[in-house]
Symmetry: C2
DNA sequence: TGTGCCTACTCAACCGGTTCAGTCGAAATC
DNA sequence: GATTTCGACTGAACCGGTTGAGTAGGCACA
């Protein structure tokens, strides 16, 4: 089946290729009558502009890129990326931009992908996920002058645009909530060390612990998997002066932690309170349901997409602060049992 | 920053554009010495072929498309797609093909996306997920002659290539396992009605129920969410002559079902055995851990990608049967308590 | 009547690759 | 020594859009 081109339309309308291009792109240079006639013909024969030809002449590929740097195993576990993608998509497809996805092994590979995309002119801009402290990807993107939106922050984004949420505030809110319940020994199972948001949460945890004058506030890193969450929980719970509350950096680890506590004969929330970051459907399915920090991830993705499209259009953009995660108290948190 | 082109390489090497093209693509027509010299220059200046120009002259876009037709909420819940994507990606990026993703609202929108992609020459082929009975997308793709691999089946794939797994066999294995344990009243919470694999599993369930001469074998559809899983479970468990085992079409519903059973004071596995389809990390985190039907989804995606790349190269391909899901017995299944 | 200006186009170059039809010189064949 | 053959390479067309320069015709104004 032969694909129709503007030459076909031009022939049928009895005008030149140029006139067809002007007409279909809403440019001046054709009369309204001719424009309507051309649009009608284009619709009739089901014309779609060849994206390659368009990208070759104009500078825009009408596509943006997203590189994910996580092992397959973890990508599956975390609803975060899929929700983010669906939010991004909603915004992009409204403007008929395509999303090009690539799963990479490490930062070096990711940088290579950016360079390749840039060289191939395959994308007009990219999203940067999992921002790190002094992220090496940032200077590369600045050098390439490839429009980019960093999903994360604040800080360490260089001159790139960004979308971020105030995780520190959300963590402090959680700490104060646990403190108000009477908890004085609080532990935390963090995410991958090196990721900026892990670092920000860790710092906020330590600071809040000091400010509130907690007896104990320990935090350990992990890798988001249930196994790691279980291991960390086991270690916390078998230490002397064990914590009465644990905050987990994602829901999967919190669920694993809940299982470990119950296995060890501890009552939740009687002996141990549990808070999960990321409020997915899973948090409501456990026994007891998990108190969780949640926010609208698809909306976060949509904001990021809007920022990126603006950046591609050359508009000056900066950092956009998304809503702060809010705490939904459920059955997994309560006052600690008096000793 | 100016992107290097083959013209730049040609100038530096003192040859024509054509010679550079031959050299870089491994075509005959240049001497080995010249080829090496050109490759060295290309590497030195960091050359990447402009994908638009390549797509415009050759017919290949070096990209394939995947349209997902599920609401954002459900996409996030299910690890399936993310795992599938990471498997697909592994295969594609090895051949430096890009994956273009699009989330669509319904089948009509998906068909429109295929037509647009085809018209825009944006992709060389597509993956078709969530195959339905008499799927309307199949004839459209046949008409467009757009290379496609259907992920699902068997059957209803028309002349398109496909990758499938024998879900019926896996379901029968599960039924026989439960039967051997002593279960005679088995229920099933299925997936979205209309999806072919839901239909295949339902039919296999009904057939096996009859063949084994079960006292009861009821199956209801759902939408994969925990809420629906919980609702269906509640209805099953409050009926007279309630089932002693329930098979769920995904892990999230199984976990929700487990919670419901425990809420209603039923012991798992004593009063109720539970089997989940899709063996994610979650299945091992519950109490008791869930007996589950699992298989290697990233590998499934990789096979699909290989099939699609072969189809794009014009090789004749048919249906590829992937491994059948295998049952991993865990703590959620046991012999039913004698009445 | 000539000049200026605007509208509505046409024409051709251009983007950066691929590919086919030649060309040129050297080696092989008779 | 003339002819054929072949390898190595050049030149130009081509893919399908976009875009700037050029132009014909109409109308207004002095």
């Amino acid at each position: 089946m032969k694909r129709p081109t503007i030459a076909d339309i031009a022939r049928r309308a009895g005008v030149s290729k140029g006139a067809v291009s002007y007409a279909l792109n809403g440019q001046p240079g054709v009369s309204e009558a001719t424009r309507q006639r051309i649009i009608a013909i284009a619709q009739e024969i089901g014309f779609n502009p060849n994206s390659a030809a368009r990208a070759l002449s104009g500078a825009t590929a009408n596509a943006v890129g997203l590189a994910l740097c996580r092992p397959a195993r973890i990508l599956g576990i975390e609803p975060f990326f899929m929700e983010l993608i669906s939010g991004v998509e909603a915004e992009l497809s409204a403007r008929s931009y395509a999303l090009t996805l690539q799963v990479v092994a490490d930062q070096e590979a990711e940088i290579a992908v950016y360079r390749r995309w840039w060289g191939e002119r395959r994308v007009d801009g990219v999203f940067v996920c999992d921002l790190r402290v002094d992220d090496r990807r940032v200077p590369v993107l600045e050098e390439l002058q490839l429009p980019a939106v960093v999903i994360g922050g604040p800080g360490h984004t260089g001159s790139l645009a960004s979308v971020w949420a105030d995780d520190a505030a959300a963590l402090v809110e959680t700490m104060e909530y646990l403190f108000a319940l009477g908890h004085r020994r609080i532990a935390r199972v963090g995410g991958l060390p090196g990721l900026l948001h892990t670092e920000i949460r860790r710092q906020a945890f330590v600071d809040a612990g000091q400010r509130l004058g907690l007896e104990q506030s320990v935090t350990v890193p992990s890798d988001y998997t249930g196994e790691e969450g279980a291991r960390a929980t086991r270690r916390f719970l078998s230490s002397s002066g064990r914590p009465t509350a644990i905050i987990y950096d994602n829901d999967v680890m919190a669920i694993a932690g809940l299982a470990v506590a119950q296995e060890m004969g501890l009552a939740v929330p009687g002996d141990l309170s549990i808070v999960a970051w990321d409020d997915s459907a899973l948090c409501q399915l456990t026994h007891p349901p998990l108190t969780a920090l949640g926010r609208d991830i698809p909306a976060y993705g949509a904001h990021a997409a809007r920022q990126l499209l603006a950046a591609i259009e050359g508009k000056p953009i900066g950092a956009y602060q998304d809503e702060t995660a809010h705490l939904t108290p459920r059955g997994s948190t309560a006052a600690p049992r008096p000793v």
